[in-house]
Every structure is written in structure tokens, then in C-alpha cells.
Symmetry: C2
Subunit: 80 residues, 2 copies
Amino acid sequence: MKAIVNVFLKPGVLDSQGKAVHHALSSLHFDNVKDVRVGKQIVLQLDENDAQKAQEDVETMCEELLANTVIEDYTVEIVQ
Amino acid sequence: MKAIVNVFLKPGVLDSQGKAVHHALSSLHFDNVKDVRVGKQIVLQLDENDAQKAQEDVETMCEELLANTVIEDYTVEIVQ
């Protein structure tokens, strides 16, 4: 079973990496970009057959390690 | 229009960040994790109404800036 975790800075938190990418795209004359946010995508291969259990496990991993919940939000998607 | 770009190291390229996360999860007694890969997710807000044009623009951005195509693969998804 595979879990896809997306970790993003919360809205309102300054995303300096996103700003840098936006600036670089403008320098390359991509003028139709209004905003850029950069986050992490973590793909976990799990030795687990129960999707509900996998979801709970991965949410615990996010709380304990994968996301800094003070400034970051995360989503968890379980894929077969 | 929104574009979601996922950038991942190609299969076979050592993902040291993924290995570090895997090791850290093992230390926290998450023993059902078999493999971890860490990539980037870049969300672009585009001032563009044509999905086909947006897809082409973002693929060009990936080739020129967002991905290092020697060692990384990318996917582009256009969302309304």
C-alpha cells in the first residue's frame, strides 16, 4: 500500500522558496504566473493491508516527524 | 487556473532525503514503512484560461527551471 503525503506552508506563512521560484520564472519571461507555493511530497511504501490503519499511521508520522504543524499543513492520500 | 507540478528523483537515483526520513521513522518505531521517496510539489497560480496552453507553458517551466531532467522526473496537472 502506498501513501502520498503533501506538506505545505500554511496560508499566510511567507514561502521564500516559492517567492524565489516566482522571481526566477519572471526573469525567464513567464509573465502569466501569479503565485508560486513550494511544498514537499513524501511517498511512503507501507507493509500494511488495512487502509484505515495506514491512514492513521501516516497521520501520526506527519504529526511526529513529517510536518511542522506550527507552520505547515499536510494531506494524506492512501493509494492501493 | 492552477497547475500542480510534482518533481521526483528518477528511479535508481539515490534519494538521501528519503533514506533519512525512512531511518527517522524506523527510530520512532514505525516499522511497517518499506520505502520513502521525497520530492517537491510546486503549485502555480496562472493567469491563463486555456488549459492546453497552460500545460505547455508549465512543461516548458519544468524543462527550463523547475526540474533537473538529468536526475528528476516531473508530472504536470492542470486544475481549474
